[in-house]
Every structure is written in structure tokens, then in C-alpha cells.
């Protein structure tokens, strides 16, 4: 007896008696409800993380000013309205942790993997709905643990989101390394469990539960992206767990994995000998670098889907997109050393990591060019989702290019830990991934709540956010190039940095305006849940399978049989069709699956480029990866 069939049956049984509030909204096992839980928790965490960044931006722009409300808000951490340096470090750390793990890993991947994987591959639910539910509750527990650390007497963990020992291992080194750090580690352990439970489910569903006709090469790029993301998480999070375990042992039991030759003011020489602080960095970045792609790839997948749908044009180079995702995933495991060029690592090892790192630029470039070509000669409908996707492409290019500087070991000597790094990753990973998430929310809101979000507010939200994001992060490149270090509480003590005061003010004001623009989104989101315009089943005239489900979100997704898939997901504007879209689930025997002939590809007035069917290279790659 197959378990999946059992599940499917039990879903139908379920519907005959009404579900209780608890089982429907709280301990729900329906993937759509779980995805909403992830989303709303993610949004709440996002607001908290953003507010924290605004608080420390205020400190950076007006270091001598006293902000009365800060004392009301933070109590002893802002006596006389002036932020405490220790708490500044805490804010920086928790902002980073929240954004990286809680918003952009769980909030983005958790939401959309849960929502879209079953809907787009044609499954009634995840492979294991119970594990899926556990995944959310571990995530929530983890969020609460992390947030509770802000309220303790010694303050939250404050060694930066990378929590390098010995700083994070020694309680006497800074107040945040006490209980705050313990809570941070427990939160991360819970988070790892959550993301492993989720990841196992995503992979298992994609591999095993696709509907009839949904072969791997007919999967939407979103699914490919979630699939590789889940694999990255599955293989890299256990390593972080190992790193965290060693750190816990060093902190609480007195082992010497990371500690050696330490003398602490007021304590004296410690006993630990022979530990290696750099070992932690190796273990951490073995997760840390794939983590960057865990954040970015779902956003890229969402963008591919949204751009193709709203350009009314097939995504350009589907196979190349999949191969570049695959290449990025593979390479991301062997480049972690580029975070450590100046740790005193063997210079030869540095060269190796440099070469591997710069190779990643190739698949990334392919992706960027393919997005551009998809837009070329399209028929672009600017829905808010489309705008956010285009914004992502813009960020991906401008943030990705600076990666070529940082991946270069020689250039990294000067740029490491400067504002250049801050600018780089906030553009390519922070803003780009947030834009992907917002694009996803605007695009799939009708599938989540059966209503539409307000487009006008969406446009304002997009343009304000897009412009302010550039205003915040673009000038930071220049600060970094002038040698301004990151994670500084204030710059007034170093005279050379005074020239950047006006830039700091500009950044902070832009950040506040950008933050205020998010209120539009919050308002739009929650208003539309209850009062938005009623959606139709397929409001964007899209091809993929999720739009074949009814507007009422039912348990089990499809009222009848799961539809069969007849073709790839990006058959837009086919010359042989009346409408400009051709859903995957519409049978039409007379239509060939793909139009391979050249005359269909190029408009008559265009010169027909010579067909390169002799492309042994591509054919070989296709065969190697079994894509054709």
C-alpha cells in the first residue's frame, strides 16, 4: 500500500467533516497553509530586522545626536538616547542573522518551496506533510529563541552574524558572548533542524511526486531552483551544526577545538592550547557560501518564472538556465575559502580558491544575459511582480560584478571587511533576494489568498524601494574603496572618515524612506488578504500547473484528478496559437511540443541567424546531465 495514495485518500476523507480552527490554521499540515505561516513569520522577522538596521543607521549618521525615543524603546541600551556600543554590535549581529536565516532562507525558500513545489509539479501535498508542519514549528521556536535574546540583561549575541570564536566563545570578551550567544546557538540549532526537515521534503517531493507527463525537463525553473537550493541546504547545514557543536563544547565544557594561547584582561592566561580559530571559519563558510546561493537561487527561480510570464515570451535558454543553476550549486561547495583570504591561510590555497570563485561568474553571467534576451522583443506587462523581477536582475548585475573584485585574492587584501563588502552582498544577496521574494508575493498572492493585491500601491512600493536601495548601497562602494571598515560604531574618532559623514546621512535618510515604503507593502498585503479584489483562477494568463487549481484553495489542491502535463512551462506567444499562452495542462494533439524550426523562432523581418545544430558542446552537456 503506497503511503502517498493513503494520504490522498485521507485528504478527501478530511473534507467531509469540517476542520477545526486549530487543525486548519495552527497545526496545519496543508502545504499552502504552512507556506503562509512561513511567509507571515518571515515578514514579521523582516520588519524586526529592518527596524534594527534603521536604529543603527541612525547611530552612524548622527553619532552625536540624542534620540529620545531610543531610550524609551531600548531602555538601558540607549541611555540619554545614545546607542550603547555593545548593543550596536548586538543589533548588527541580530540584523544579519535575522535577514540571512530567518527572512531570506526560511521566509523566502520556506514560503515558496512549500507553496509551489506541490502545485507546480502536480502533487496533492508534500511527501511528508507531518515533517513539513514540524519544520514550521521548529522555525517558529527558533525565531522566538533568537528574539528572546534581545531582552536579556547581557544583551544578544554580538560577534557579527558569523560569530567567530574566540570572541563568541569567551564570556569575558564581550557581554553578548554570554547568555545571548547561548541563545543564538540554540536558535541556530533549531533552525538547522527546521531547514533539514523542510529540505528533505522538498527534494523528495520533486523527485518522487511529479504528475504524469511532468518530466524533469518540463519542470518550471522555480522548481529547479528550489530543488538545488534544498540539496545545498541538506548538504551544508549539517556542517554548520558540526561547527556549532564544537563551539558549544568550547563554551560550556572547556574543550579546545577553537581556543588557543589566550590571555584575557581580568582573567589571566587560559588553559586552552592547540585549538584552531581558523577551523571554525572553514566549517562556518563551508555552510556560509552555499547559504548565499540558498538565499539567491529561489529568488532567481521566481524571477525566471515571472519574467517569462509577463514578457509573454519563453524563457531564453531553459537548458542553459538549468545547467548554470547546477554549476552554481556545485561550485558553491568549493569556494568557501574566498571569505578567508586574509586569515593567514596558505597563499597557494588562496590562489586555488580565487580561481574556483571566479569561475562562478560564468554561469552567473549566462543567467544575466539570458534574462536580458528574454526581455528582448517581449511584450512586457509591468505588474508589480514583473517590476520587482527586473529590479532583481539589475541588482544581480551590479552586485554580482563587484564579486569579481572580492573573489580576487589580491584585491581582497584591501577590500576585505570594508564597506565595499557590505555594498556587494547587500545588493547581490540582500536586495536581490528580497526583490525575488516580493516578486513572488505579488505574483502568487492570488494563489495564496484568492484575491489580488493593489497594483498601484505595488508600483509605488517598487519604485521607492528600488531607488532607495541603490541610494543606500551604491555610495557604500566608494566608502569601502576609501578604506572605511565595516561594523564600526562611529567614525567620528577617526578624522579621515569625517568626509563620509554626509554620505552616511544620505544613506540613513534613504534607508528610512525605503523602510517607510515597506509600510505600503504591509498595508497592501494585509488589506488585500481581506478586502482585495477577487482573483480569477489564472489572473496572469500563465502556463504552469498551479494556475489550473481552483481559486478556492482546497486541501489536496485539485478537486478531480491531477492534470497531466503535455509540454514545457514556457510556451508563450507561440506563432501557431491564437492566445499568447499555452498552458502545460491543456491537451492539444495537433500542436507539437516545441516548435523547433527556425522560421518560428525569428520574426520575418529579422535576418535568420544560422542554426548552430552542430553545437556538439551543448549536445554533449545535455547528454552528460541527462537533460534531453
Amino acid at each position: 500500500m503506497s503511503t502517498a495514495a493513503l494520504h490522498a485518500d485521507s485528504h478527501h476523507d478530511h473534507h467531509e467533516h469540517k476542520e477545526s480552527f486549530i487543525s486548519k490554521y495552527v497545526f496545519s499540515m496543508d502545504h499552502k497553509m504552512i507556506s503562509k505561516q512561513f511567509l507571515i513569520t518571515g515578514i514579521v522577522m523582516g520588519i524586526i530586522g529592518m527596524t534594527m538596521s534603521l536604529i543603527f543607521r541612525l547611530q552612524l549618521a548622527w553619532p552625536d545626536e540624542q534620540f529620545g525615543f531610543m531610550e524609551t524603546l531600548l531602555g538601558k541600551w540607549a541611555v540619554d538616547g545614545k546607542l550603547d556600543p555593545n548593543f550596536y554590535m548586538g543589533l548588527v549581529t541580530i540584523h544579519g542573522t535575522i535577514m540571512v536565516f530567518y527572512v531570506l532562507t526560511a521566509g523566502l525558500s520556506g514560503t515558496f518551496s512549500n507553496l509551489l513545489i506541490p502545485l507546480q509539479v502536480g502533487a496533492r501535498d508534500m511527501a511528508s506533510p507531518f515533517m513539513n508542519m514540524l519544520s514550521y514549528w521548529f522555525f517558529l521556536a527558533s525565531s522566538i529563541t533568537l528574539l528572546s535574546s534581545v531582552f536579556i540583561e547581557t544583551g544578544p549575541a554580538s560577534g557579527g552574524w558569523t560569530v567567530y570564536p574566540p570572541l563568541s566563545a569567551l564570556e569575558k570578551a564581550m557581554p553578548g558572548s554570554g547568555l545571548g550567544m547561548t541563545l543564538w546557538l540554540s536558535a541556530i540549532a533549531l533552525f538547522i533542524i527546521s531547514s533539514l526537515l523542510g529540505g528533505i521534503n522538498y527534494i523528495s517531493t520533486v523527485l518522487n511526486m511529479r504528475t504524469k507527463g511532468m518530466s524533469m525537463n518540463r519542470m518550471p525553473l522555480t522548481i529547479w531552483a528550489f530543488f538545488f537550493t534544498a540539496i545545498l541546504g541538506l548538504l551544508s547545514f549539517p556542517v554548520l551544526l558540526g561547527a556549532a557543536l564544537f563551539l558549544i563544547f568550547d563554551r560550556s565544557f572547556g574543550t579546545s577545538f577553537y581556543l588557543s594561547d589566550i590571555y584575557l584582561e581580568g582573567v589571566g592566561a587560559l588553559e586552552n592550547i592547540g585549538g584552531s580559530p581558523v577551523l571554525y571559519q572553514h566549517l562556518f563558510w563551508f555552510l556560509g557560501h552555499p547559504e548565499v546561493y540558498i538565499i539567491l537561487m529561489p529568488a532567481l527561480g521566481i524571477t525566471s518564472e515571472v519574467i517569462s510570464t509577463n514578457a509573454r515570451k519563453p524563457i531564453f535558454g531553459y537548458t542553459a538556465m538549468v545547467i548554470s543553476l547546477m554549476g552554481i550549486s556545485f561550485l558553491s561547495f568549493i569556494v568557501w575559502g574566498h571569505h578567508m583570504f586574509i586569515t593567514g591561510m596558505n597563499p597557494f590555497l588562496g590562489s586555488v580558491f580565487m580561481i574556483l570563485t571566479l569561475i562562478i561568474a560564468v554561469p552567473s553571467a549566462v543567467k544575466a544575459f539570458n534574462y536580458l534576451t528574454t526581455l528582448w522583443k517581449g511584450n512586457l506587462r509591468f505588474t508589480p511582480a514583473m517590476l520587482f523581477s527586473i529590479g532583481l536582475v539589475s541588482f544581480f548585475i551590479s552586485g554580482g560584478l563587484t564579486g569579481i573584485y572580492l573573489g580576487n585574492a589580491a584585491l581582497d587584501i584591501q577590500l576585505h571587511d570594508s564597506y565595499f563588502v557590505v555594498a556587494h552582498f547587500h545588493l547581490v544577496m540582500g536586495s536581490a533576494a528580497i526583490f525575488g521574494m516580493l516578486a513572488g508575493i505579488y505574483h502568487w498572492f492570488p494563489k495564496m489568498y484568492g484575491r489580488m493585491m493593489n497594483n498601484t500601491l505595488g508600483y509605488f512600493h517598487f519604485w521607492i524601494t528600488f531607488i532607495t536601495a541603490y541610494l543606500v548601497f551604491f555610495p557604500m562602494h566608494f566608502m569601502g574603496l576609501a578604506g572605511v571598515p565595516r561594523r564600526y560604531y562611529q567614525f567620528t574618532l577617526l578624522e579621515d572618515f569625517n568626509v563620509w559623514m554626509d554620505v552616511n546621512k544620505l544613506i540613513t535618510v534613504s534607508a528610512i524612506v525605503g523602510g517607510a515604503a515597506q509600510l505600503l507593502f504591509i498595508y497592501n498585503f494585509f488589506y488585500s488578504i481581506f478586502k482585495g479584489k477577487k482573483a480569477t483562477a489564472n489572473p496572469w494568463q500563465a502556463n504552469s500547473l498551479e494556475w489550473s487549481t481552483p481559486v478556492e484553495r482546497i486541501h489536496g489542491n485539485w478537486p478531480g484528478e491531477i492534470p497531466t502535463v503535455y509540454r514545457g512551462p514556457y510556451e508563450y506567444s507561440r506563432p501557431d496559437r491564437e492566445e499568447d499562452f499555452f498552458p502545460q495542462y491543456v491537451p492539444d494533439d495537433s500542436a507539437p511540443e516545441v516548435l523547433h524550426t527556425e522560421e518560428h523562432q525569428v520574426a520575418p523581418e529579422e535576418k535568420s541567424p544560422e542554426e548552430v545544430e552542430s553545437s556538439v558542446f551543448f549536445a554533449a552537456i545535455k547528454r552528460v546531465f541527462g537533460l534531453s
Binding site: 538601558k76 567567530y164 570572541l167 588557543s260 587560559l270 522583443k377 527586473i390 536582475v393 576609501a482 508563450y572
Partner: protein, 487 residues
């Protein structure tokens, strides 16, 4: 008058909402009772203008848009025509953004470009570094401009038109191969250049380089120069004491430390022996505090006492003492081990100079040996294109040759007060932002020697053979040193 009433009303609204909020948050507040203080008297003057303005701005935007949208939707419904074509508006905004953005990039390059640490590096390898940077900048800036222009131009050019159908164009192997291969070639070039630059900087170290130890601690830097014998003495973290912050193997100071440690151990032993009595005494005080109500008049003292008392009863007090004793014993044993090794205390350290400033000679190769004693720090000298982490237990190094004196830098930058600094660039604690040491590059060896001579060696050279006045002076300084150490 009206503004005043408004202020009062706002005040009361705020207070009320705070009261409601604190009622809701009461359990959390109880948990965090010592963190969050009761709200002070609210005064609108406490807000600075920027916060007020931005919040107002945000609210205004929401209102305006909501209104505008309502009206727009209504007219569209009535006339049945599209009044606002958002597609066109967005396309035009994209073009405006593109032009404004390119102008912004140009403005930034023009205004902030000259401030960058590029072009006039103060070290030999800095020029190689800068040329590597310019090559990378050339390629990336070209790609940046071309792709961004195309992106926004496409947005404008191919905006929606219901009479048009998009081009059905799903792949073109030739194109895809081109943009796989072209970036690969460019990157190969950058990688090769980066590889040679990196190898040159990290591995080509002149043999005659002078060693300087740069020592990082929370929160400051110290440098150690070799004295007349030209070599730096040994060091170990177990030797660190108040008067010997770098833990240099200098017999006199280490002996002092041994005495100090032994003293501390016997003190701790005494505490441990009388632990029961202390706990009883604390209990007595604790009971008295509770009985007389002093616990409420002096809550802070009572809290400390309570912690002490609890630690005493649970045995944590004795355990901490035992741990301290064990740690100090280990340190003593390790010092004894080193003491047995004659080669370790060979006296090379005696003439070393520990300084609070780094002075270098122009065009002389140096090799900086970095050490840290508590957490990871990073020595960052942007003027010299130098950065290296300082890791406790793992010595690191960076070799470079300064090529520009401080005076020259001042005249080039046109800033008479300009100084080179070495910053900390790895998060290391609360005062991370203020951890720096001045670096001065002088023109010639003579200036450097004068400076070095003015720095006191670790052990004052034997002056007994000289005048009796100098002798007493020497003893006096030693005596003051000792008192400092004892303190």
C-alpha cells in the same frame, strides 16, 4: 494655542497607548525587568526632525496613493476607458531612472572618486594592486553600463502593446556559447593577473626585511622592535602581565609574574578554606536585609548579595575558586617548563622596545609579524594596501615596503594633519571602532634611529658602572615599575 492642545492630546494618547502596550507586554517586561526602564516623561522635542518628517512623509504617501487610486478606478469604471496606462508610466519611469542613475554614477565617480585609496599608494606592492584594480574596474564598469542600459531600454522599448505578439525565441546555441566563452576569456585574464599579483604580494619577501611584531589586544595595538642585537626575543602568552603586556620572555618580569600568581593562588586557597564561613556571613547579611527591609531600600546591593549567597549555597562559588586556582596553577607549571629551557630566556628580549607607535623608513622592506592575545583582530592599513588577521595562537605575517613618507602623503593629499593609521578591521568587541595605532614613515635611517633611541628598552641597560646619580635613577624607575605591576 491649538498646537499646544494638540501636543497635550498627543502626549496623553501616547501615554495611554504606552500603558496598554506595557499591560500587554507585562510578562515579557517582568522577564526583562532590569533591562527596560519605565518610560520617561514623553516630550515631542525628543524626536528629531528627520524621524518626524519621514513618518509624516510615509503616511502622506499612503493617503495620496489610496485617494488617487480610488478616483482613478472610479473614472475607469464610469468611462470604460483606461485613464491611466501604468504600463507606459512604468516604462517612462524606467527611462528616467536610467538617465538619473547614470548621472548618479557619474556624480559619484566625480565627487567621491578622488577620495578613494587608489593611485597614490604608499607601498611598493600598492602600485601592482592599483593596476589590478583598474583592469577589473575597466571590465566590470563596461559590463555594468552596457547591461543596465540594455535592461532599462528593453523595459521601455518592449512595453506591452496588445496588437503585438512577443517573439517566440527560446534558445540560440550560438549566442549562448558566445556569452559563456567571452566572460570565460575575460575572467581567465583577470584570474591570471590576480594570481600573479597575489603571489607577488604574499610570497616575494626580500631576505633583508626587518621584522616588527605588531600585537593586538582588546582594544589597542602595540609594536615591538628589536634592539641593538637586531633580533626579537621569544614570547609566550603565559608570560603576559600588567607590566609585560606582550608576554615577552624577559626573566625579571616573568619572575615577578610568578610571584604575583603564587600570591593570588594562596589568596584564593584562603578564600576556599574559609568558604563555609563566608557563606554563613552572607546568609546572616541576607537574612538581615530581608528582616529589616533593607532589601527594598538598596535593591542593587541586595541583588549582588543574593547572587553571592546563591552561588555560595549551590557550590558555584567554590567551583569558581577551584577553577581559578587550577588555571593559575597551569600557567605556573607552563612558565616553569619554559624556565627549564635555557634557550628560551636567552636575553635577546631584554633590549626589545615595546612602542605605541609604528615608525618605518621609506623604501626599506619590512615584515610585520602579527599576534593577538584575546580574540581575532585584523591589522588594516589602507594607505599601504595591507591587511592581515591577527589570530590568537596562530602567528601571521605581511611583508611590504613603504614608499611614501608621512610628510609626502600630507603634501599630496593637501592635508597638513594627515597621518597613516593601522586600524582593527575584524569585529572584536565594544571599542572595535576605536582601535588604532599611528604609523609614521620617515625619510631616512637617522630619523628612525633617533626615534628608536627615545624608546625605553624592556630592561634598562646596566648603568651601575656610570655615575651614581644615574644608578639611583635606574633603581627608582625600577621601583616605580614594580609598584605599577603590583597595582
Amino acid at each position: 494655542m491649538r498646537i499646544d492642545t494638540l501636543r497635550i492630546r498627543l502626549n496623553s494618547i501616547f501615554k495611554k497607548s504606552l500603558a496598554v502596550l506595557s499591560f500587554v507586554l507585562a510578562p515579557m517586561m517582568l522577564l526583562a525587568a532590569d533591562v527596560i526602564e519605565p518610560p520617561k516623561e514623553f516630550s515631542i522635542a525628543n524626536f528629531d526632525w528627520i524621524t518626524i518628517l519621514s513618518v509624516l512623509l510615509a503616511l502622506l504617501i499612503i493617503l495620496v496613493i489610496a485617494r488617487a487610486f480610488d478616483i482613478g478606478a472610479l473614472t475607469e469604471k464610469i468611462t470604460g476607458k483606461t485613464v491611466v496606462s501604468w504600463n507606459n508610466i512604468n516604462a517612462w519611469v524606467a527611462i528616467i531612472f536610467l538617465v538619473a542613475g547614470l548621472f548618479g554614477v557619474w556624480y559619484e565617480l566625480k565627487v567621491h572618486g578622488p577620495l578613494l585609496m587608489l593611485g597614490n599608494s604608499a607601498s611598493l606592492h600598492g602600485d601592482t594592486y592599483d593596476s589590478m584594480f583598474y583592469w577589473t574596474f575597466g571590465f566590470t564598469f563596461f559590463v555594468f553600463v552596457v547591461t543596465e542600459v540594455l535592461l532599462f531600454y528593453f523595459m521601455f522599448r518592449y512595453r506591452y502593446n496588445e496588437n503585438r505578439k512577443a517573439l517566440y525565441y527560446f534558445h540560440n546555441n550560438k549566442l549562448e556559447i558566445i556569452w559563456t566563452i567571452v566572460p570565460s576569456i575575460v575572467l581567465t585574464f583577470l584570474v591570471l593577473r590576480g594570481f600573479t599579483t597575489w603571489s607577488k604580494i604574499t610570497t616575494e619577501i626580500p631576505k633583508e626585511s626587518q621584522e616588527i611584531e605588531v600585537f593586538a589586544y582588546q582594544f589597542g595595538w602595540k609594536a615591538r622592535y628589536a634592539g641593538e642585537d637586531g633580533s626579537l626575543g621569544n614570547q609566550n602568552f603565559n608570560f603576559i602581565s600588567g607590566s609585560n603586556p606582550l608576554g615577552v620572555a624577559e626573566a625579571g618580569q616573568v619572575d615577578e609574574l610568578v610571584k604575583e600568581l603564587e600570591g593570588e593562588i594562596s589568596k584564593l586557597e584562603a578564600f576556599k578554606a574559609s568558604a563555609d564561613d563566608s557563606i554563613l556571613a552572607w546568609k546572616g547579611r541576607y537574612d538581615r536585609f530581608v528582616a529589616t527591609g533593607l532589601s527594598r531600600t538598596y535593591p542593587e546591593d541586595f541583588k549582588t548579595l543574593k547572587t553571592k549567597f546563591n552561588d555560595g549555597v549551590s557550590g558555584a562559588y567554590v567551583r569558581t575558586l577551584e577553577k581559578d586556582i587550577k588555571r593559575k596553577r597551569t600557567a605556573l607549571n607552563r612558565i616553569a617548563e619554559y624556565k627549564k629551557d635555557d634557550g628560551f630566556f636567552d636575553g635577546t628580549a631584554n633590549d626589545d622596545r615595546v612602542t605605541t607607535e609604528i615608525v618605518l623608513v621609506k623604501n626599506k622592506p619590512y615584515i610585520f609579524k602579527f599576534r593577538a592575545r584575546d580574540v581575532i583582530h585584523s591589522a588594516y592599513m589602507p594607505d599601504f594596501r595591507v591587511q592581515m588577521n591577527c589570530v590568537p595562537g596562530m602567528p601571521t605575517q605581511f611583508a611590504f615596503t613603504p614608499t611614501m613618507t608621512t610628510t609626502e602623503a600630507r603634501s599630496i593629499k593637501n592635508k597638513p594633519e594627515y597621518d597613516y593609521y593601522l586600524f582593527c578591521n575584524k569585529i572584536c568587541g565594544a571599542a572595535h571602532y576605536n582601535m588604532k595605532i599611528k604609523v609614521t614613515v620617515v625619510e631616512n635611517e637617522a630619523e628612525y634611529n633617533t626615534w628608536l633611541a627615545s624608546q625605553a628598552p624592556l630592561v634598562a641597560p646596566k648603568v651601575a658602572e656610570q655615575t651614581p646619580a644615574a644608578e639611583t635613577e635606574g633603581i627608582e624607575t625600577e621601583a616605580t615599575d614594580n609598584t605599577v605591576a603590583m597595582n
